[in-house]
């Protein structure tokens, strides 16, 4: 169990001393790196460890830390292991290097992250309009973009939702379920606010 994953963990630690490597479970290895080490690491993973396939690039908004997290997911066809490489970049004027030279498909993901999170990928000249059309203003997937406010200002709201009840409380009362404190305001936001 976890033999190939642990071997991989040792291998990565030997080369990248500052990397936080963790075996998540079978077939999953997570690597956390400084942002300037990501291009060399991905090059190393692709050429040396034979992680030939880039499955996905995604982005997470850590507004509390004032940082954006980029997540690169690689796959090795022989080993059948997935590497999840994560890095944090600054949130304001987010910059990163393009991985187009490593994998052509990175272009699509970079365009999407550029449009939805406003990250500028240096070296990618294709960062134009992608999914959204005529979008002006803040990228919509950032957490400080208020989607309810935007929807109210832009689109016509049909009346009838004003009396929307928070049914979570009633349901939990019926079933005797205990809701943890942090989950209490998850449920429907008050429309009036």
């Amino acid at each position: 169990m976890l033999e190939k994953e642990n071997k991989l963990l040792e291998q990565i630690k030997k080369t990248f001393h500052s990397a936080k490597v963790e075996v998540k479970r079978e077939m999953r290895v997570a690597v956390q790196l400084r942002s300037d080490l990501i291009p060399p690491f991905l090059s190393y993973a692709k050429e040396y460890l034979e992680f030939k396939h880039l499955s996905h690039i995604s982005c997470v908004d850590w507004i509390e830390d004032d940082e954006l997290e980029l997540v690169f997911i690689l796959w090795n066809y022989e080993l059948h292991v997935q590497i999840i490489a994560k890095t944090r970049i600054e949130r304001e004027n987010a910059q990163f290097v393009s991985l187009k030279k490593f994998w052509n498909q990175a272009d699509t993901y970079e365009r999407e992250i550029h449009e939805m999170y406003g990250v500028n990928f240096e070296g990618n000249d294709n960062l134009g309009e992608f999914i959204l059309e005529d979008w002006e203003g803040k990228p919509p997937m950032l957490r400080d973009f208020d989607t309810i406010k935007y929807s109210k200002e832009t689109y016509f709201q049909r009346p009838g939702r004003e009396d929307a009840q928070n049914v979570r409380e009633t349901i939990t009362k019926h079933s005797g379920e205990e809701v943890p404190e942090f989950a209490k305001d998850y449920t429907i936001r008050n429309i009036e606010e």
Binding site: S151, T154, Y155, F156, G160
Partner: protein, 185 residues
């Protein structure tokens, strides 16, 4: 000689009754789907529910179609295409709003990218509610539309022409880059 006391408005109505009776049994639906609701159309059209027994059939292009189905959520990007499609269709034409999303936004009511009330942008003749409406509900909606046509009330397209400025104002409010041809009907 006795002249029946019928005014100009009612004379047209008699001709229209015949015309509308014929129209009601020949509804060509544009083969176009937005959102997730389009998945309910294949079972409606094929052997299980067989919408063709009511005279409802698919049409390949907007110029051959009578009915435009808006099946589910409509993003602003799609709305631009839908408006263009609708304006290309020839009279008589009808719009059916399909699913909760076209009525009040449904589960996407707070989305940054989907409209919430379809009838502000296009004249909707019939709404079918539900998420998703099953083929029975879809057929019921079509029958409602047929009844409206038979009564001469399926006149969304006329309303659109009369109030074009109002519709255009609403449409241009969310479509900033308006690059559409102006059709004259």
């Amino acid at each position: 000689m006795i002249t029946p006391n019928i005014d100009e408005k009612d004379k047209r109505r008699i001709r229209d009754i015949v015309q509308d009776f014929a129209r009601k049994h020949s509804l060509w639906v544009l083969a176009y789907g937005t959102g997730c609701g389009a998945i309910e159309i294949p079972p409606t059209m094929t052997s299980r529910y067989d919408a063709e027994r009511f005279g409802i059939r698919g049409a390949a292009t907007p110029r051959q179609a009578d009915v435009l189905l808006i099946t589910g959520y409509l993003s602003t990007k799609t709305l631009k295409r839908v408006i263009r499609t609708y304006e290309q269709m020839q009279d008589p034409k009808y719009v059916i709003g399909f699913g909760s999303c076209t009525i009040n936004g449904g589960m996407y009511w707070d989305s940054y990218n989907t409209i919430n009330a379809l009838d502000r942008y296009l004249p909707v003749d019939v709404y079918i509610n539900g998420c998703m409406p099953r083929p029975e509900a879809v057929i019921q909606g079509f029958i409602k539309l047929q009844n409206l046509i038979a009564e001469g009330k399926g006149n969304g397209a006329d309303k659109y022409k009369e109030n074009l400025e109002w519709y255009r104002e609403n449409q241009k409010k969310i479509i900033h880059n308006w690059e559409m041809p102006d059709y004259n009907w």
